[in-house]
Symmetry: C2
Subunit: 417 residues, 2 copies
């Protein structure tokens, strides 16, 4: 694929997006159901292609966690097909009127949700992203251009082809979904220059991918960045509740962005809380890296270094710090955190309200685990990711966050004086 082809491909995607934007909800649902079936029909081919990706990843000695994310099996593919059915059943946000004002001059102004247009998704390894993103973009009336990583290219192509074939047969406009099947990295930079044709870029993957995309893109980017999430145990916390919440936030699924990476404990609670809590963590195989005060209270744990407070471990590792008061906790979160999800455990209403107000993260919790930051858990039905940006969408992004809006203005001859 040549660089010049990228512009042509984007022009076609734009044209496709205009047709897709006009489809009614019923047609879109019918297409999504057909795609779900198409995925099941394509299962043998997808598995065969996936085996090749996995074999070549093994040959290149890629990390085990990556190979795990890359590997498909019939049950994973069936769950991708189920997700498409769920998306088909979700409420279509397109066309929803969110505001109507009548002006003194008689103009009626309606604010109505519309698709964004063309969305470019640049992602790494997990092939299920391919079908999830296609489903969510199509349901919200957006053309999607997918650019997956080379390690999953054969799986991605097989999934894309199965979905696209089924969708076209059911009336999906041409070029409403596009996959860049050439893994040449230069093409990414070319894609990022197509302002005016691509309306939004969402990079999903590691830190370096996200940094590179936002540094080079002329197109608006919504970043799905890291989650350095905190649990703060206040002096007025119910310590049993605190223990369960902190344990859940760290241990239930450590490899995801809404898992806790740092636990902050008020000094007045630290002597009662830390020994029991850390014992429970150790029992679950969690490595603890503590501040000097933590290490005074519980012996035999590693010392946290400055780096640890910034770290997204995505693993059974936890940094622990004893703080003087809630202000120090908030300062720590604002300084080292990633403004993703943070929680306070407290029975003190004033402390809860201060924490909710002053912690400027996408999701701020009182007395609950940060693990709930998720489109499904938030009632959005599905999510395309969790935005760590403050522009356009923040936190879990569902169908609604994949829309823009326009104003429809109804007059009867009004002119401006």
């Amino acid at each position: 694929m040549k660089r010049e082809d990228i512009k042509k491909l984007c022009r076609r995607a734009k044209a496709g997006s205009r047709k897709l934007a006009l489809l009614d909800s019923e047609t879109k649902s019918r297409i999504l159901i057909a795609m779900s079936k198409g995925l099941i029909r394509g299962l043998p081919t997808i598995l065969k292609e996936n085996e090749k990706d996995v074999a070549s990843a093994r040959k290149r000695s890629l990390p085990g966690a990556l190979i795990d994310r890359l590997t498909l099996n019939p049950s994973r593919i069936r769950s991708m097909a189920d997700s498409l059915l769920k998306i088909a059943a979700l409420k279509d946000p397109v066309g929803e009127v969110t505001e109507t004002v009548k002006r003194p001059n008689g103009l009626i102004i309606k604010k109505v949700k519309v698709p964004i247009g063309v969305i470019l998704i640049i992602y790494e390894s997990r092939p299920n992203v391919t079908s999830d993103c296609i489903g969510l973009c199509l349901k919200s009336g957006n053309s999607v251009i997918l650019r997956g990583g080379s390690e999953a290219i054969r799986s991605n192509i097989a999934i894309f082809d199965a979905l696209n074939r089924a969708a076209l047969r059911r009336g999906l406009p041409e070029d409403a979904m596009t996959m860049i099947k050439d893994t040449d990295r230069k093409l990414v930079n070319e894609l990022l220059k197509q302002e005016g044709l691509i309306d939004l870029v969402m990079p999903r993957g590691g830190e370096s991918l996200i940094r590179e995309v936002s540094a080079n893109s002329r197109i608006p980017v919504i970043k799905h960045y890291k989650g350095v999430c905190h649990t703060y145990i206040d002096k007025d916390a119910d310590l049993k509740m605190a223990e369960d919440i902190a344990f859940n936030a760290k241990v239930q699924r450590p490899g995801v962005c809404n898992a806790m990476e740092t636990m902050l404990v008020h000094k007045d609670a630290s002597r009662d809380f830390l020994p029991v809590m850390i014992e429970r963590f150790k029992h679950a195989g969690v490595e603890i890296r503590g501040c000097p005060k933590t290490r005074k209270i519980v012996k035999g744990i590693l010392a946290a270094r400055e780096d640890d407070w910034y770290a997204e471990y995505l693993d059974l590792i936890l940094s622990v710090k004893v703080v003087e008061d809630i202000d120090e906790a908030i300062e720590h979160i604002m300084r080292y955190g990633s403004y993703h999800s943070d929680t306070i455990v407290t029975d003190n209403e004033a402390a809860a309200s201060k924490f909710l107000k002053e912690v400027d993260s996408a999701c701020v919790y009182v007395n609950a685990s940060t693990r709930f930051t998720d489109g499904g858990e938030f009632g959005k039905g599905a999510e395309i990711g969790i935005s760590t940006d403050k522009i356009h969408a923040r936190g879990p992004m569902g169908l609604e966050e994949l829309t823009s809006y326009k104003y429809l203005v109804y007059g009867n001859g009004q002119i401006r004086k």
Copy 2:
């Protein structure tokens, strides 16, 4: 000012933004009222400094229109002071809860409007932008960093100093407003690298400024781009109404972004409509550039070239095209327009509804002049500009569009299973 100083300045602005975000509406209004008075007190100094800017612009032989926009007088300054009072009286969006959901597990999730954080505004010539942007950003709880053009630097500094002095005395947190007083262009590029400290950039000015900012910024940008606005006269239009709307859209204030640049006329209406309309335009000094069919109907007008369809004249010039049908009109608008504001004049409901649906512009009108695209006319009270982007904010941006949101999640011990 050195490049290294930019990072320090942005860090201070970020710290200021956190304090500003916590101010209540009453305090912010009190500060805005004090700023309005401060501006009036500063009037003699501001005028004196403005005279220097104007003199140097004359010496550099800058265009007359630019000098006009640059020039202040007591009435212009008083109107800036009035705008601040109006902003003080507007409803504060910060803290507004826009959604509350209760999940089956008992979690209560509230979506609440919060300030964006630190907003960088890069603008050219008009010194009133300085006080408008400061007022709107402060009211919406955002720190603002202003970077005006060198041609207005003395005026901008005088306005900024008058406002800042008055505001600090009334309790504005330090560094909640910042002006880059050094006009070295290298500093702009340094500013555009401060992702994580600056949350949003809004360039306001000519096309080259906007292109440069969006090409170089690592920070999200909302563009206030050009307005190539269309009026389409349908075959079922009330031709008298069409004439008044088109005349208003072109002539009432040709130098603004919501003025009409191209008029499209259905072929069935063209013979009755064009001769009268063009006569009226010519009488008002409007230069017409027509398509071949237009020139057949009305003799003695210039031929439009391909360039004309893309042009934002901002002047008494109009391109005119006769179209076969509404589809050709929509195609033309989507191909050559800037997705700002477009209107159809028709009595045919099906045509109106097709136009509203298929024209993907920020503001789409039926039977009204495009000149109404404006924060005040839309009932937003004031505007910081008109976004031509589809991400975050589209069309007139008022206080509400200067906010982000966060989720507050209230639990009683919920953990994820």
